[in-house]
Symmetry: C2
């Protein structure tokens, strides 16, 4: 085995150096990729250019200048003070149509034209609108144009009206409103509204759009939760409704008020009630160490020792072109790109040279609450609106990802500025705590390590942290996994509730209700299994009662089971089957393996908690038509250039008439292909949901834990190859026992087949022939020195972020309104 020999020779010379080594001398091939160091790895280049790459800062600036010059009549300002001023709100790559990319990737065609997508914030008829435009081709030239961008939106529109004219003004309205009832809040909550004091209250809104136009806002008081950032654990249980249907903020009116389950028509009623002797108060939530995310002082036995840790002394086995964001690892190849709404998307995922998935990425992340109070009762977040990409903050090397991971920065362009999110994507290999395969036979035992590749980012949208993994396994399996942590968005728990009365959560703090909610996180997987022409089937395992000729006469009829295949012949949503009794498989009916089986990939709930759920609520009032993809677990649709996404971030602003209505995408078109009367070519696309029904309990305080919040869908080869392809990549060991070294599992007979002898004959570490221990793949052959940086990266020096900025000036405040840029 040539590679192993080379390693062996290397290590012999390494041993020589060791004798004179100081602590800090490492083997020359020792790789420690300090996470912030400039690297000098062997150059590796992607085979093609990353045609989905985010705009560079230069491109962005050129586009800004071009748009300002071309559209002077819009009075676009570079730094808008509010949504009342026109600006270029978002600028990013308009990803090329698949039909334009495929010739480039697979047919030696030219690279598709490069275009940008600009979201202009325009004030039209005194109503703020966000309007999509396409700008290109790039680089800016005489041919470049600014065109309305309509084709990706099945509403037929390219604009979304926002009822929120000025978010900052709403916040200020809340401040003033809160201060105007300081006597009440002092009485009930022991504090007055003061956004500038750590002891002051905050008065924060849940806006909702009214069918007849305008907004209704329910404000609730919160304590700020300074020490930890746990404001969403500190609702105060005093709520005020503001009628904000008028375009003129001066016309807004406050009231009714809601407290302890009772509605008070206006502030005077409320004030009068409080003064009444029988008025029932409910204790508020005060901050304290219970919201601290860490306990520095607990001396739990064992805690004084650091835990086991993963090291990678000989460096990575993947190749990474950071420029084109292209990764190659044991037959897998793919490109990475980012967008501020949706975070990472992977393109052109191939395995062993074969097409598997053209596009894989997040579409939307919903958190939908329920409750009998005015805040939780109508609360729902579509987090791409707040930005799953632009909230992808810097990762903690050694913690979020191993010290030895490769880290990449993300950039995005908003309101004339290019923002950098340093070290916000990591790529690394990890060896699982368990094997990929093993077998004990009578005279041998064999084991293969399960080492996999992860591409990870973490989006913190206000209170909540989503770690999103794309995981690749040596057999060709691909996994998408989301784990959640951070603070839950709690509701106020009213003390006048009797036990069991809170049908919307558990009491988990003084006046904290755990506030049940559904997380439904939508992903797109444009599968091209061995090519674009695919079919989806449900392969069901079903009970069967049958009479077999060989069973006679003893067994007249046998209760048994069998496989039944059902085609998925039209666009539809599917739910994971009862008793996990169906395999959802995407086959390439035209491509067969050596055994004449259709080459396929199975789609299944993976290693998250149980099976992924969909939204509990049927036809949610809050959501309207903005997120119909949440209603089933997995969807199969035709791939269309005009339907590139299941959702749009601006759907959040317009739930009743969203710019993309998924219902109109999943409209039962036939998936039959090849017939003369269809233009459909068999290229299907899958949307699937991760997430959880989250019924937080006391253990979610202070933060939700990731090991039990995981949610996963996997794409597993199903007859894709002729045999398990991991065998040619994996590292492991085979032991032959007791002199029967060529006997496998059976009776230990001598094996005399020459080919086999050759296959199994190796030198061991000591240079002995036909050893008992036979390794495959590279092995450790000497001890290694692991420097501190590989165990505990120097975060004092290495962590680049000075402050986790929220940059959305139009809609400042994250999903949970926790961070605010003043």
């Amino acid at each position: 085995m040539e590679p192993r020999s080379r390693s062996f020779i290397y290590l012999s010379s390494f041993l020589f150096f060791v004798a004179i080594a100081t602590w800090f001398i490492l083997p020359t091939n020792y790789h420690y990729d300090a996470y912030y160091a400039t690297e000098s790895k062997p150059s590796f280049s992607a085979p093609k250019q990353n045609v989905w790459a985010e705009l560079t800062e230069t491109e962005a600036q050129d586009i800004y200048d071009f748009v300002y010059a071309q559209r002077p009549e819009l009075n676009l300002v570079r730094r808008p003070k509010s949504a009342l001023e026109n600006s270029i709100y978002i600028l990013e790559t308009l990803r090329p149509n698949k039909s334009d990319v495929v010739p480039y990737l697979f047919e030696d065609g030219d690279a598709p034209q490069r275009w940008a997508k600009a979201v202009l914030a325009l004030n039209v008829d005194d109503t703020p609108s966000l309007v999509y435009h396409a700008v290109g081709p790039l680089p800016i030239s005489k041919e470049s144009q600014i065109l309305p961008l309509t084709y990706p939106f099945n509403s037929g529109r390219n604009d979304v009206k926002s009822e929120i004219k000025d978010y900052q003004a709403i916040i200020e309205f809340g401040d003033a409103l809160g201060q105007s009832i300081s006597d009440i809040t002092q009485e009930l909550l022991g504090a007055a509204t003061d956004p500038d004091s750590k002891d002051g209250l905050l008065c924060l809104p849940r806006p909702s759009r009214v069918a007849t136009g305008g907004l209704v806002l329910w404000f609730q008081f919160f304590r700020p939760g300074l020490g930890s950032g746990g404001r969403t654990l500190l609702p105060q249980g005093v709520y005020v409704k503001v009628n904000a249907t008028s375009l003129d903020q001066d016309d807004w009116t406050a009231g009714p008020y809601f407290y302890n389950g009772v509605i008070y028509d206006d502030v005077e009623d409320f004030r009068a009630a409080i003064k009444h002797a029988n008025f029932k108060k409910t204790p508020p939530n005060l901050d304290g160490s219970w919201t601290d995310t860490e306990d520095f002082d607990a001396k739990t036995e064992g805690r004084e020792l650091p835990p086991p840790i993963s090291v990678q002394p000989y460096g990575p086995r993947y190749k990474l072109d950071k420029n084109e964001r292209f990764v190659s690892w044991f037959g897998f190849e793919f490109y990475i790109t980012t967008a501020q709404a949706t975070g990472l998307t992977l393109y052109d995922i191939r395995f062993k040279g074969e097409r598997v998935i053209y596009e894989l990425g997040l579409q939307e992340a919903m958190a939908h609450y329920a409750g009998d109070d005015p805040m939780a009762g109508g609360q729902e977040f579509l987090d791409t609106f707040f930005g799953m990409g632009k909230n992808m903050y810097e990762l903690l090397p050694g913690y979020d990802c191993p010290a030895y991971a490769d880290y990449m920065d993300t950039h995005y362009h908003m309101a004339h500025e290019t923002h950098e999110l340093p070290n916000s994507i990591c790529v690394f290999e990890y060896t699982a705590d368990h094997l990929l395969s093993r077998h004990t036979a009578e005279f041998s035992v064999t084991a293969s390590r399960n080492t996999y590749l992860i591409v990870r980012s973490t989006s913190t949208v206000g209170n909540y942290d989503y770690a999103i993994d794309y995981i690749f396994y040596m057999d060709g399996a691909v996994e998408v996994k989301v784990r959640a942590s951070g603070y839950i968005f709690a509701a106020f728990y009213r003390s006048n509730k009797t036990e069991g009365e809170d049908e919307y959560g558990h009491r988990i703090g003084e006046a904290v209700s755990s506030s049940v909610h559904d997380h439904v996180i939508n992903f797109k997987a444009d599968l091209d299994v061995a090519g674009p022409t695919n079919d989806m089937v449900r392969l069901a395992l079903e009970p069967l009662t049958k009479s077999y000729n060989w069973d006679q006469p003893e067994v007249k009829e046998r209760n048994t089971m069998h496989l039944v295949e059902y085609g998925v012949n039209q666009e539809t949503g599917l739910d994971w089957p009862k008793n996990s009794g169906e395999f959802f498989i995407v086959y390439n009916s035209e491509e067969r393996n050596a055994w004449s089986q259709r080459r396929g990939y199975r789609i299944t709930s993976g290693t998250g908690m149980g099976s992924t759920p969909h939204l509990t609520i049927e036809n949610s009032t809050t959501l309207g038509d903005s997120a119909r993809w949440a209603e089933h677990d997995i969807w199969v649709l035709r791939q269309k250039d005009t339907e590139p996404r299941s959702a749009d971030p601006l759907n959040y602003l317009a739930p009743i008439d969203p710019i993309i209505n998924f219902n109109d995408m999943a409209d039962h078109e036939s998936l039959e292909h090849g017939a003369p009367d269809t233009t459909y070519d068999g290229d299907l696309v899958v949307y699937f949901n991760l997430g959880s029904h989250h019924i937080p309990h006391s253990g979610d305080i202070p933060n939700t834990l990731m090991h039990t919040s995981g949610s996963s869908v996997m794409f597993i080869p199903h007859n894709f190859h002729d045999r398990d392809p991991s065998r040619e990549s994996v590292q492991g060991v085979r032991l032959q026992l007791d002199g029967k070294k060529f006997g496998g599992g059976f009776r230990g007979q001598e094996e005399d087949d020459d080919a086999r002898v050759d296959l199994r004959t190796r030198l061991n570490r000591r240079g002995e022939k036909d050893p008992k221990v036979n390794y495959f793949g590279g092995t450790y052959e000497e001890g290694v020195k692991v420097p501190l940086e590989a165990l505990e990266p120097d975060l004092e020096k290495g962590y680049r972020t000075k402050r986790h900025e929220v940059t959305d000036l139009n809609f400042n405040g994250s999903a949970a309104g926790v961070w605010m840029v003043g």
Copy 2:
């Protein structure tokens, strides 16, 4: 933080030594637990004795002698040649009744009496029977007795009759039968039956019991699969039925024959048909490198480097009393014991001093096949019969478990011999590739590592390997996980099938059908959540349409959701709910947390693939009443001393009238407690199933892969504590950014509360006060040297097993008949 300071001081002095260190000098607290070395760890003792411990060899020998002396009339022999000779087949601990153990564990009562369970193999009326006896108390004294053991068996019997008088004779019958039609096998398969040749065929039976008595055997030919042990991939498609209903083997008759879907009444018909010109042959399966479990020669790029690996340079943070098999880790405490049928069982699992689970262990492991050929069509294994414990072979250090794991041996007693399974249990900590929790705030970011504890064993029952994990997490969660690898038991694929005609599997080799089957693996969890008096509820999240006062007038009715709790008021089987829409929670209604919530544990499908399934087949003909627990996902029953197990290994011999019929355990008794008319005290027990619907595909060749075969159930605290208890155990880091060091997530105001300042003030590595980086838990403070043994343990020297023996003399041949002891 005292522990961390100590570590810091230690490491300073360590640094001094480093300067003069040679390669092999390690920090004195450097722990590398060579897997086979005798250890000199600080002594640690379990608080109580392990009353469930397996018999020692001395105890066993004393019992053998006692039984021989007391029962001379039985003519017990020490080394039976066949099941026709009487012997003490199995000898093991009769685990004490819970009612006898509880006073010892929790009330300072005496330890329960120690008894043994002896299974006598007796030939009664020329029929082999296996008869349970209790022998005790131990040690053997004048008080000791041999009593029929009946109370754990709800059949009311203590014996099981076996229709298999002499397994070896059946095998020899098959050899002779095969040789008698060598002309046919030469013609169809190109080989003759010869169990002593690597090129010869084997003729192996699937026995089934006939309702009217006796056996019917369907034999099939196999090629032996010498090199790899992959015989179960090599069925040959020629089948012979043997009528073995007579007690006298001389009366057995062969025929009909089955080939290529056609039944031939007798051998002459078959022979005549083959000579016919139109006879359709189907190619057999020949062995080749395709059954090899490893590919030594593939030079896949990257494979020359070893993968990342987990190290534990400062030693474990758990404590292990190997004598009593007691483990203590971050608040978890439990005892381990073993049994030859069922492998590991954990007892008295506590967390932070509180009772959680009294007993947790495997009950039975079923593999149930289906097919339209006489072998797969009636094939079903209950693997405790073959021994999930006695097939727990030696683990490969560095592969099955990390090099730094602690390993323990297992012993069992069978047919007068004590057998050792060295290094067959491992215990280790592992740090996940992902965090336990994290949160990014505006001026801080915090992260906690997810380090967990695993207790692992691996049972290879013939062709198939089951890795069984008990996993403990810092928040109190417990997981039971099974992963499968090894060779599938394939069926013969007939070439005359048209595509899609094989409704029992895929073609995955020349004539190999993947042979669909269900794995259903039953476990018992005797939950005592904060004590024995528990209730189970289904907490459902359900859609709701409701009118809320605060929603008026804008929203007349709202489509939302809410929680509805359903009691589980009688013994019953439950299935995981549709859309994962219910939480199954076991509460202690008498024990409340600080928030007046019932303290509970939730039971859920965990990190295996999707939700665990139950048996597809309804009322399986093959199983009869032997495994009714397979029909639902989870069961809730009363805990009874007389119902200690859901299954018995001997059920496999008597499916129609099993010695334990689970149907009669799950018989809908009320689970209401506290009422005057019930003797039930609220102590419930849960049985649950792991497993999978296994539709193997080409990627299962050569071996099933573990990363996609995992199956898990988790027990997750649900309001068990007042707050997440992992906070006091976990290791992690908090960063404060940009001088706002006491500002948490909000606006970065200075924090002036003294207590908080104290909490967050630390020295960093450089001795600076109020550093940006604040660690909690022990950290790595210097680089470490990792010796080769911690990366690649010396398996040449360390692996103790000389041959993986199958020791069941009465029923030699494992589940798949792969290994045979001649």
